[in-house]
């Protein structure tokens, strides 16, 4: 029996790896920068009505954007998980493209399509994150047994009733899991708020940036960071409570079939979402021109780029590959530890606390973390502050919670009797993983890999505040070109954007293919 029940100690030791990483690359830098600011600003910041207006807008726009992302993501998840139709690979790639696009170009695209204001901010934030909901939920949905739904239907329940009382409860862990991630991404969105808000709207993230960088008001920034950390923890705890009532599912490897009757409406809705996502994407591609692409092959207008656009694409793929491997390794280790812990007699609150702690980096300002690195990491051997490895390390911090949120709902939902049966039949713990968990989680793993790549390709937050050697990636090149006058620079920027989309699509499709070969 002892062999079938993995040990608590082993799981705790495994969990120490991601937690140690979190402590060194997140907790320590954040605490250091908050301490540097001191507690002096807290009272002033908390008693200011401006602060609470900022908090209100931060939470309000994030909640609204999350709602939009969930509502639009669910039909796409249905399409990907439940229907056997052509073109799924392409749909998976299209929903992933927004995720990598630099905020400055997406902001500009939304601004020319919709103008500025609160609604465009919400829609732009949702645009970035539809993929998180669609792919996380699809990964679970594709394994949920249809028979419970069919039974409900034949007992006379309508489609709506079946969805709300049978389907949705099964998807719940994945829905809330992805919603929590989207909420944190939207709450910390920075470029979009500045660009579309035109200075009229500010969030905790933009305020922390302004106080730190422009005003050098470290006490004020520290107080706001504390407020941000506290509210993020509050949101995560609520999310954990909502996820808690997860049911054990009778998971199957594949449940897709040709849509029938009313299901075609959902399919139509899903395609409508895909088309809506394509509008800003196409408007960006339309701005590139043949001249722009031709110029990308060189080093740009009057040599302003130093490297060619193709070199930048290669740099992007290389850097992203390292970051993805590192983040996947950490994320998978964390997942295995969490699942193993929850299968032992460890208290659920312990598992939840670890889970929540690993999510924290998604909700804390990149400015806080980035500047925190500067005042702490020199104390480690080799002065990591200026090492090229810091970029993948910082990205791993963001990707790890994504990997966990994508993989965990499926792993948690696996019926323990399936594993016990395998163990009783004499399978070693490793064999149980190989025969039961891995086949069922492989789609989530593919989705997680795609996310990891997308985050790394898109060059996230903290990394842009770090000193790094001059190996410009595509987002860096786009940023540089967009911030210069001249028609050709503009066309090149959008050509580089199109190239970034192409690279992303190619990688997502390749990851998908690789995954299909791996499935059995």
């Amino acid at each position: 029996m002892a062999r079938g029940r993995p040990g608590l100690t082993g799981a705790l030791v495994t969990a120490a790896v991601p937690l140690g990483f979190l402590a060194v690359f997140f907790v320590w830098p954040v605490l250091a920068i908050i301490r540097l600011g001191g507690g002096g600003g807290v009272a002033a910041v908390l008693s200011s009505s401006d602060t609470w207006r900022v908090v209100e807008f931060t939470v309000g726009q994030a909640a609204a954007a999350t709602a939009v992302a969930v509502l639009t993501g669910l039909p796409v998840a249905f399409l990907l998980a439940r229907t056997a139709l052509r073109g799924h690979t392409l749909v998976r790639a299209v929903v992933m493209v927004p995720f990598v696009l630099p905020t400055v170009v997406v902001g500009l695209a939304f601004r020319s399509l919709l103008g500025g204001g609160a609604l465009p901010i919400i829609l732009a934030n949702a645009f970035f994150n539809v993929a998180v909901v669609a792919r996380t939920v699809a990964a679970l949905w594709s394994h949920v047994d249809r028979r419970a739904e069919d039974a409900a239907r034949s007992l006379g329940a309508g489609r709506a009733r079946t969805f709300f009382s049978v389907t949705f409860p099964a998807l719940r862990p994945a829905v809330f899991s992805s919603a929590a991630v989207v909420f944190l991404f939207c709450a910390t969105s920075f470029g979009v708020v500045l660009l579309l808000g035109g200075g009229e709207y500010s969030t905790l993230e933009t305020e922390i940036y302004l106080r730190t960088v422009q005003l050098f008001d470290l006490p004020g920034a520290a107080a706001l960071s504390l407020l941000q950390v506290t509210s993020v923890i509050a949101v995560l705890v609520i999310g954990a409570v909502l996820r808690r009532r997860s049911t054990t599912l009778n998971l199957r490897v594949d449940t897709a079939r040709r849509p029938r009757g009313g299901e075609w409406f959902v399919v139509a809705a899903a395609y409508a979402v895909v088309i809506a996502l394509l509008v800003p994407i196409i408007s960006l591609v339309a701005k590139s021109s043949f001249n722009g692409f031709k110029a990308l092959a060189g080093t740009g207008f009057r040599g302003s780029l130093q490297i060619t656009g193709w070199d930048a694409a290669l740099n992007s793929v290389k850097a992203a590959t390292y970051a993805t491997l590192l983040a996947l390794a950490l994320g998978v280790v964390a997942c295995v530890a969490l699942v193993t812990l929850s299968r032992t007699r460890a208290r659920p609150s312990l598992v939840e606390s670890i889970d929540t702690a690993l999510m924290l980096p998604l909700g804390v300002s990149a400015v806080t973390v980035g500047f925190g690195y500067l005042i702490t990491l020199d104390k480690l051997p080799g002065d990591l502050r200026t090492s090229p490895m810091l970029v993948p390390l910082a990205q791993a911090l963001v990707v790890t919670p994504l990997v966990i949120r994508t993989l965990l709902p499926v792993l948690r939902s696996i019926d323990s009797r399936l594993r016990q049966a395998a163990a009783t039949l004499g399978a070693s713990p490793w064999r149980v993983w190989r025969e039961v968990d891995i086949p069922l989680a492989s789609r989530s793993f593919i989705a997680a890999t795609a996310f990891a790549y997308a985050v790394a390709l898109g060059e996230f937050g903290a990394t842009s505040f770090l000193a790094r050697p001059d190996s410009a990636t595509l987002p860096v090149v786009i940023g540089r070109l967009v911030s210069r006058p001249g028609e050709l620079n503009n066309q090149m920027a959008y050509a580089a954007c199109a190239l970034l989309m192409l690279v992303t699509t190619a990688i997502v499709i390749a990851v998908d293919r690789l995954g299909t070969v791996g499935e059995f």
Partner: protein
């Protein structure tokens, strides 16, 4: 997941190799995102002096200054370039730079000197840009009803040209008059954007975005990039509305390699480097006798008498001025 095993080994190997060997003749130059230089020039510098310049770019001028201040106890480089006159006082007060006067700093850069620790490398004047058909010239014209709803500016709290233009109006109208001037601009329909990108490339009629407004806060150099196929400039800078932004370089206090760092600062004002500054970074050289590229001579001459505000006054009043500006324009 089985596939992951070998990959983990690769990751570990990469991590192991990543600590770059630092030979004694490497100078880490910390700078901002807009820094740009032809690799050939760096190679030539290495051939001449044996010094490798390791360029580390990081954020805008504000982010760069904040980084330098936060890391002054354990600097992330040997020399820094890109702290401008709106942030210089903060860096100087915090003792980020060591005293050094670059060789040749008396051949032009001294005209922009503010302290013995900083050497002026380039000048990037912020001016109102206009399409050719606009006959506005002065600050007063911008508030004239003839140009109602034509001006777009950047928010001084989020944009460096935005701050520069605010400072230009403060220098021109003085402490008493500038708030009133902005109220008049507001009445005349001034539009405020967060950043240069949306103001210039979307709202301005003279850029490729072909927006609705004919006047925008940008740089004196911008018209050089807006020359049509007929060889004529589509836009012009209003040279009486400029603010002088100066970018400085210096040797960092606590640099590991101060001797070579000094040579790098010398190099930044050398003829070879200064000649490239316009095309690479859209700014004007500080060194005397360095010719501007042809398109610049035609479309983007250097402003003769731009406004300035002393660096320590900017540092001392920036927050208050931005607050007052917000109240006048947003309120």
């Amino acid at each position: 997941m089985r596939r992951l095993g070998p990959l983990l080994v690769v990751t570990a190997l990469v991590a192991g190799c990543s600590s770059t060997p630092t030979n004694s003749h490497t100078v880490v130059l910390v700078t901002h995102d807009s820094f740009s230089v032809d690799q050939g020039v760096l190679d030539a510098f290495k051939a001449d002096t044996g010094i490798t310049i390791d360029v580390r770019k990081t954020g805008d001028a504000g982010a760069l200054t904040t980084q330098l201040v936060l890391t002054k106890a354990a600097p992330i480089g040997d020399a820094a370039f890109g702290v401008d006159n709106t942030f210089a006082s903060r860096a100087l007060q915090e003792g980020v730079f060591a005293e050094y006067q670059a060789k040749d700093s008396d051949k032009g850069p001294q005209n922009y000197a503010i302290d013995k620790r900083l050497t002026a490398v380039d000048v990037g004047d912020v001016c109102v840009n206009a399409t050719q058909d606009v006959d506005a010239k002065t600050f007063e014209d911008l508030a004239d009803p003839r140009f109602k709803d034509q001006l777009v500016v950047e928010d001084p709290s989020t944009s460096s040209p935005g701050l520069a233009f605010l400072l230009a109006t403060i220098a021109h109208y003085g402490n008493q008059g500038w708030v009133n001037y902005w109220q008049r601009l507001k009445a005349n329909g001034v539009k405020v954007d967060s950043g240069w990108e949306e103001a210039y490339s979307q709202d301005f009629a003279g850029s490729s975005g072909k927006g609705p407004r004919k006047l925008v806060v940008s740089y004196a150099s911008s018209p050089s990039a807006e020359i049509g196929d007929d060889g004529k400039a589509r836009t012009k800078a209003l040279l009486d509305t400029c603010f002088r932004q100066v970018e400085y370089a210096g040797v960092l206090n606590g640099a590991k390699n101060p001797d070579d760092a000094r040579k790098v600062v010398d190099f930044l004002i050398s003829e070879k480097f200064q000649k490239l500054v316009p095309d690479a970074m859209y700014v004007y050289p500080t060194r005397d006798g360095v010719a501007l590229p042809e398109q610049w001579q035609q479309a983007a001459p250097k402003p003769e008498s731009p406004a300035t505000v002393p660096a320590d006054q900017i540092q001392g009043n920036r927050d208050r001025w931005i607050e007052q500006w917000r109240a006048a324009v947003r309120g």
